[in-house]
């Protein structure tokens, strides 16, 4: 970008040296003298009443200091205020294999594990709910006593305009069902936490978490201690991908144990336990009906989703909305109906994984568009180009869009891949497919409603010339520290590596809501700009007074502050800070960011709004072996609308990492469960709770990737930047499915697309039957009353015309919230 010295320039990330020398201190690398070790005893039953727990033998075991059970934890918890349904240790019943029922704290990990074996738990097994269809069919036994009814956790139903009328009037209606299997984050680092009392007796919890602020609130609440007596420090995460955005029971347990024993208490989950923690991709069954004109333009969409939520709420209510809310932000959809249902099942709970709830319906939407193109004899790239949403548009469901560079993205991958020469023209067995997507640049609302900033940054500048940055944002590998340092360095004209960062520490740093929903770049980035500009103003005033140069002529660059008209006239950055400190006093500044009010005033409209959206387009070329169904991805072309790339090295890494993770989801990764035979408790267990059996791509599976960063600055983004961590994952799965169709003419309408499914479809094809593998039907769900929200083009104001006004809500912090709509309590975005 013009005039920038740091922003947009490829450079080593600020934490690069620490990472390549092995000096980054992850949670399990923290070693404290006198540490005790915690192990959890977990349920072998998927659904059972706890009759009794006898810890008397275990108490006498060697090395045991403390045994905790559910009785020690009277307060339930959960990441969303609407579903605080988790217990640190189960009290009366277990809801999945792996639910924790007791914790042993011992001198060594081995002793803790051995003592766990000595705890006698008597269970009374209950009927198990294995999947959403069973959940719908069986109101009893209820897995939870909260939720809409029976084993239905949440049903949502929204209609924007008369969809049935539009479908009836459409030239064609395409009606497809899709299934997207669940999969997991598989971050390399196992979750770990250590809690200890500081010398003053205050409790400190170090944890591999993406959301130290939410952990802070929940652990204080669960332990019934004032939040100011607890410090939560997010260790740099060894990969997150959404898997460390919940509050976990083990965090609460070690915190409690440290309070009781007065000693550091550590836990590190085994890889199998990480699979049980899960919170990964929801399995989703979908039915998508789309009405189009004869040229393929969409007139209305009707989406139904059925989510397998697993045993707990987690982010599930938000996930349910996310399976519908972003279908409108890519192509113009004049009328839209979305109905979603999340069920409880006796399996590890699902939650947010990279793309949170949106990859599943995106897969369906983009595969269906391919089918529409084929049916109407249109080029799938052109079909998309003809109906892109407009920048700044307000969609039918009241998502306010920012910049959209999707046209350029499509054109780039079409040109780069040679699409026009390849589509429908490659030899049999070779094929090419295209798909697009969009994603948030940060959720518009925090998970507990309040009108406070979403992100805060503090700067301290002192006479050494050092700039120290404090921010609650959490480094999970994505480069959040580098984003912050790069932005402040640009504003103050110093080198990013010279900025000292202190992040993710609730004692020392201002709140940032965490590393989720792709929010850090835009939200923490804007807060960093504000803090840095305030610091620059203070320094400029000092230098101006000292040197007699007007403030607006001062340039901050290359470690100096100087006169734009006579660069020799100026001070070193350190001298400039000294001068300013003399004039102003000690220099400390803050910056805050809060998104603008959302236009979506209807219930549920809090999920989906974002200050801006990123866009991606991808073309994938595959080779399919007709004799085995084996798919080899030959090459991926991907273009991402990033606004601007703050650090192109990291931006490219986020794109390619997304493509990699998507390839795994598309072709091999699945959280498959199986039932043990009746003689072995009939439990539902993971088929693959290990990294060997849960197949993920290795170096050998990686195809060539051509990455294009499309730069069209977003006015609301810091220096024009948008997110890049999640969006580029989304188009890959459907692009692969579409490429497989182009290669061999079979449709695999479910994820993952494994060779057996292709083989089966090829056999159907050979026998003259429908060459398709996928779900046959979507169950009839009693949706209840649909919220009727007239779209903006039909005179709507963002409210449901049949919705009862809501009562005022008070969150547990005592922060009083305005009544009425989710948007009404959120103030104006802080602009720079």
């Amino acid at each position: 970008m013009s005039g920038h010295r740091v922003v947009g320039k490829p450079r080593r990330r600020v934490d690069g040296r620490a990472k390549v020398t092995g000096q980054t201190r992850f949670a399990d690398d923290l070693q404290f003298p006198r540490t005790l070790h915690c192990k959890l005893l977990r349920s072998p039953h998927p659904h059972a009443r706890i009759v009794s727990i006898d810890t008397s033998h275990a108490n006498l075991a060697p090395g045991v200091h403390l045994i905790l059970t559910g009785r020690d934890f009277p307060v339930t918890f959960g990441i969303l205020p609407v579903s605080m349904d988790e217990e640190p240790l189960c009290r009366d019943k277990v809801r999945m294999v792996g639910d924790a029922v007791a914790a042993v704290i011992a001198a060594t990990e081995e002793e803790a594990a051995a003592a766990c074996e000595l705890i006698d738990v008597a269970y009374e097994p209950l009927k198990t709910i294995a999947d959403p269809l069973e959940a719908l069919a069986n109101e009893e036994p209820r897995i939870h006593d909260h939720g809409d009814h029976g084993n239905v956790h949440k049903k949502v139903a929204l209609e924007f305009g008369d969809v049935d009328a539009s479908l009836a009037a459409a030239d064609h209606v395409f009606d497809d069902t899709f299934f997207y299997e669940g999969n997991t984050h598989l971050a390399l680092e196992q979750h770990a936490a250590v809690a200890l009392l500081d010398p003053d007796g205050r409790l400190t919890l170090h944890s591999s978490t993406q959301v130290p602020h939410y952990v802070h609130r929940q652990v204080a609440r669960a332990l019934e201690i004032p939040a100011h007596k607890l410090r939560v420090v997010a260790a740099p995460n060894g990969g997150g991908f959404g898997g460390k955005t919940d509050v976990f029971n083990h965090e609460i347990i070690v915190a409690k144990a440290a309070l009781i024993t007065g000693r550091p208490v550590r836990i590190c989950l085994t890889r199998e336990e990480v699979f049980l923690c899960h919170r990964g991709r929801h399995p989703v069954l979908m039915r998508l009906r789309t009405g189009v004109k004869s040229d393929g333009s969409i007139v209305a969409m009707d989406l139904e989703t059925l989510l397998d939520g697993g045993a707990y709420g987690s982010y599930g209510v938000a996930s349910t909305f996310y399976t519908g809310q972003l279908q409108t932000v890519t192509y113009h959809v004049p009328r839209y109906r979305f109905r979603g249902c999340r069920t409880f099942t006796n399996k590890p709970p699902c939650g947010p994984k990279r793309g949170h709830g949106t990859p599943q319906p995106r897969f369906g939407q983009e595969v269906q568009l391919d089918k529409i193109a084929i049916a109407l004899g249109r080029d799938p790239a052109d079909l998309r180009l003809q109906q892109l949403e407009q920048p700044g548009a307000l969609t039918a469901n009241y998502m306010r869009l920012g910049t959209i560079a999707l046209k350029q993205c499509i054109e780039k991958v079409v040109e780069g891949s040679g699409w026009r020469d390849k589509w429908q023209r490659l030899p049999d067995g070779r094929g090419i497919g295209i798909a697009c997507s969009a994603y948030l640049c940060g959720a518009g609302l925090p998970i507990y409603w309040n009108d406070l900033p979403h992100s805060g940054v503090q700067l301290k500048l002192d006479r050494s010339g050092l700039v120290t940055l404090f921010c609650g944002a959490t480094e999970v590998g994505q480069g959040s520290d580098d984003v912050l340092a790069g932005i402040v360095a640009e504003v103050l004209g110093v080198a990013p590596h010279e900025i000292k960062l202190l992040t993710g520490d609730t004692d020392l740093t201002p709140v940032d809501l965490g590393s989720y929903s792709s929010r850090v770049t835009l939200m923490a980035g804007n807060a960093a700009i504000q803090a840095a500009e305030r610091a620059r103003a203070i320094i400029a005033a000092g230098v101006s007074a000292k040197l007699g140069i007007p403030e607006d002529r001062l340039v901050f660059a290359d470690g100096r502050v100087f006169d734009a008209e006579d660069p020799a006239q100026g001070l070193s950055f350190q001298d400039a800070v000294i001068v300013a400190e003399g004039k102003h006093g000690i220099i400390g500044t803050t910056g805050s960011y809060r998104p603008a009010v959302s236009a979506a005033k209807y219930k549920g409209g809090g999920v989906g709004p974002s200050p801006s959206y990123s866009y991606s387009a991808s073309v994938v070329e595959v080779e399919v072996d007709r004799t085995s169904g084996w798919v080899e991805v030959k090459k991926v072309w991907i273009a991402h609308d990033i606004g601007i790339a703050l650090n192109p090295v990291l931006a490219r890494g986020q794109v390619e990492g997304s493509v990699y993770m998507a390839l795994g989801e598309a072709l091999m990764e699945e959280s498959a469960m199986r039932r043990l035979p009746a003689r072995l408790s009939n439990a539902l267990v993971h088929k693959f709770p290990s990294m060997l059996e849960y197949k993920s791509p290795t170096t050998m599976e990686m195809p060539e990737i051509e990455t294009y960063l499309i730069e069209e600055p977003e006015p609301d983004g810091p220096f024009g930047a948008k997110e890049v961590g999640q969006g580029p994952l989304l188009p890959i799965m459907p692009a692969i499915a579409n490429a497989i169709f182009d290669a061999v003419g079979v449709r695999i309408d479910e994820i993952p697309i494994t060779p057996d499914k292709i083989f089966k479809a090829l056999r159907e094809q050979a026998q003259g039957r429908s060459p398709r593998v996928g779900p046959d039907s979507f169950p009839a769900i009693e949706w209840g009353e649909v919220s009727i929200v007239p779209p903006p083009s039909e005179g709507g104001d963002g409210r449901a015309i049949n919705e009862k006004p809501r009562k005022s809500k008070v969150v547990d912090s005592g922060v009083r919230l305005a009544p009425d709509s989710p948007g009404a309590n959120v103030g104006d975005g802080v602009k720079r």
Binding site: R12, R13, D15, G16, R17, A18, K19, V20, T21, G22, Q23, T24, R25, F26, D28, D29, Q31, E110, H185, L186, A187, L188, E189, Q190, P236, N237, G238, G239, G240, F241, T270, R271, V476, G477, Q478, G479, V649, L650, R652, G653, E656, G657, S658, V659, Y660, M661, S690, M691, L692, S696, T698, T699, M700, M702, I705
Partner: protein
């Protein structure tokens, strides 16, 4: 002379060029001895079952998964970990390249990749992309998509080669 399970084992090994006497519970793996008894936490664990490659170290110059090696097997061995890769304060060319090329995102798999790549370049200084891909196929990375890792190894190889020919 194998000690009993209740008795600590004692071995002498060379870690990053320094001779160490270590006393440890005899069931410990090399991974645990390094992290817990020698405080070398740069070596990571992702599964402790030999599946992910995060715990790779060099034993007598060859990459091994330290979670699958018993500490007892290391008496007299030479072990190199991430902490020994730099030449005093000067980073190894692989470390420089990994930092510069975006080959380390979260950094958790990075020590395992770095030592494995070093073993490769020690043996084959001008390894091809295919050889790099194969040599690193036992190391999982969930962040990068591997391509920037390949490029970093190639850049380091080129720099080491250039230096050799100076």
């Amino acid at each position: 002379m194998t000690p009993s399970i209740n008795e600590n084992a004692r071995i002498t090994l060379t870690v990053n060029g320094e001779s160490k006497d270590v006393l440890f519970a005899p069931n410990k793996t090399l991974l645990e001895v390094l992290r817990e008894d020698l405080c070398l936490t740069g070596t990571k664990h992702g599964c402790e079952l030999g599946e992910c490659g995060a715990c790779a170290v060099l034993m007598n110059g060859r990459p091994v998964l330290s979670c699958l090696v018993l500490g007892l097997e290391c008496d007299g061995a030479t072990v190199e970990t991430i902490e020994g890769l730099a030449d005093d304060a000067r980073l190894h060319p692989l470390q420089e390249a990994f930092a510069d090329c975006g080959a380390a995102q979260c950094g958790y798999c990075t020590p395992g990749f770095l030592v494995t790549a070093k073993a490769l370049l020690d043996e084959r200084p001008s390894a091809t992309r295919g050889e790099i891909t194969e040599a690193l196929s036992g190391n999982l990375c969930r962040c990068t998509g591997y391509i920037q890792i390949f490029e970093a190894v190639e850049e380091a190889a080129a720099k080491m080669d250039a230096k050799e020919n100076e």
